[in-house]
Symmetry: C2
DNA sequence: TTGTATGCGTTATCAT
DNA sequence: ATGATAACGCATACAA
């Protein structure tokens, strides 16, 4: 790794310094009980003196495990021309997930391998690749609606944890947020604010998040005695939010309350509302979902439903680590409670 | 890595199938010339038949190299309370860098280890950690102004490439953008738009990017016959931009042109301008820097200076790979040209 | 050009 | 409780 470092100390060196055998040093390093206290102490001194650190390659060669995880970001094939996006890695939302993952990994002294797969070739090559690299487990963040990866990883016997329930049911562990509860929070808030004519802009209904939030909102409104909620389907983008808002405004001019399936669309909706001279929140109250950075930077700042994303990322880590430690036990799921963050838009 | 996979094929297996020795197979795998064409072909068939993939741990044990890189994100110690940020990984700008890095790594079949260091302990532990993991090179993205990492990595002999010129000079390779040229682009544009009273909100002047953009803008304005440019120092945040704008407006009410050191501050400035009833671009033209996603989502969309961030990330990869292949040769730097993206704010 | 033999640093099995 | 010793899968110096 460098030009001319002094050779790294090995078990052998430490053993020599401590006056014991390699095996004993190994036992100390791996925390095995059967070592006499005084010997152990001598070994620990020797380790500190030599600055010994285990050679992971050698260890992995014999144990067949690297003790390392892969953080896989899977997205549909990118169009060559959309250079501006930067892909999923530049999405602040997934940045939070990653942040949570790293935080949970830190105490274990682990660092994940970062892999982005956005082509079918990549997806085909992934499992063999993981084998070659000796990856022990996978943290999978997928945007691909019909992503084959969850199933493939499971079938390959790779300990895996997913962020968000997969679109196609599969026997794989995942974390998710209670989308319906989040939507219910928004509904209760709008009702309490005195909104009489409430509508919603939903995400794509073939995505679990889009569907659950939309359905959850209508259910909750029904529970509040509002059986019918005008709704327009968007696509989770700002532009989609703008278009949906235009349509909604045409269909329901009397609107005074709005729940939007995510902040990005809410941002678009806010712009259109301003263009139409509707004041937020005086004329119409708006609630988003995600608590993205945009919710803070827009005017007025957006009331929104926040997911404990970092906690969810941390839980994913726990899941794979557990799956690695105890193979053979079935998949788990943990659903987190969302929180309503009230700001100026309501 | 799994429950009960059939044992992975080894060199030995392939050799048996091909009817040659391990060494010959190894030569084929590593692309060494001295192999008879027919034997080579037989070996290649055998490899395909067995589905052989090299065991990286074993290879690394003998070669002392893993062929893998670390993507290190170094940031100042985080405050415990700012949970919302998600840290550097959720910054869209660095998302683009990462995207460029991954793109350049892909043809080599490499995936970086993702490491975030945001404490002094982390920084101290980094070099030994890299040694232990057998990391061959480091792609370092640092926000820390006085970050000791560039120097330490260099001294440790770790092939390293930096994103952006380090605040403290150090013999380390880096990529950067020509900040001054970018600022000059903005200046020329504002002058051409007919702005008479032009001011600037700069980033922190102790950061290279803050200083260079500010100085570059004033120089360029001087070249256009404007010797004096009112200036207020911000801190690269949206809130900082708001405060700076308030001060600037108080000092220079006649303002009709503004260059802001980054988009985030420009966003804040736009909000304040709106609050003060100033129309953009009719009353005042605004130019940002970075071409962040916010530049597209704000109203009006922001004219801004774009860095070829993905290309810069890719160049970093080239740098470390070159440094690994040919140790001992000195550091390099590559400076990229920025581009002015004209939108509605001017 | 090809094969043989050695060693890389660990863990794990076996005696002791 | 401790110490030899045999793998682990590969690259490479050397012999042929």
């Amino acid at each position: 790794m460098s030009t001319e470092q002094p050779a790294a100390p090995t078990l052998e060196h430490v053993a020599a310094v401590a006056g014991v055998s390699r095996a004993t040093v190994s036992r100390v390093v791996n925390g095995i009980r059967n070592v006499a206290p005084e010997r152990r102490e001598a070994v620990e001194r020797a380790i500190k003196a030599t600055g010994y650190v285990p050679n992971l390659a050698a260890r992995s060669l014999v144990t067949k495990r690297t003790g390392s995880l892969a953080l896989v970001l899977s997205e549909p094939a990118k169009h060559v021309d959309d250079k501006s996006s930067g892909g999923i890695v530049s999405d602040p939302f997934f940045g939070r997930v990653i942040s949570g993952v790293l935080g949970a990994l830190r105490p274990h002294g682990l660092h994940p391998m970062l892999m982005v797969v956005d082509t079918d070739e990549d997806r085909d090559a992934l499992v063999p690749r993981l084998r070659q690299d000796g990856i022990d487990g996978v943290l999978l963040i997928s945007l691909h609606p019909g992503d084959p990866l969850p199933v493939r990883l499971t079938e390959a016997g790779v300990p895996t944890a997913l962020f968000a329930r997969p679109a196609r049911p599969a026997p794989v562990s995942y974390v998710d947020v209670a989308h319906r509860d989040g939507a219910a929070l928004a509904a209760a808030h709008l009702v309490e604010r005195g909104c009489r004519r409430v509508a919603t802009i939903s995400g794509p209904l073939d995505a679990p998040a889009g569907l659950d939030r939309s359905a959850g909102f209508r259910e909750a409104m029904a529970r509040h005695g509002r059986p019918f909620v005008p709704s327009v389907e968007g696509n989770f983008t700002q532009l989609g939010g703008e278009r949906a808002m235009e349509r909604l405004l045409a269909e329901e001019p009397e609107l005074d309350g709005l729940f939007v399936g995510n902040d990005l669309m809410a941002l678009g909706a806010l712009g259109v509302l301003r263009d139409h001279g509707r004041r937020v929140p005086e004329d119409i109250a708006v609630v988003g979902f995600d608590d993205s950075p945009a919710a803070l930077s827009c005017r007025p700042q957006l009331t929104t439903v926040r997911q404990p994303v970092e906690d969810m990322g941390a839980e994913m880590v726990r899941m794979v680590l557990a799956a690695i430690a105890e193979p053979g036990r079935g998949p788990t799921s943990v659903i987190f409670d969302p929180v309503l963050v009230v700001r100026r838009s309501t």
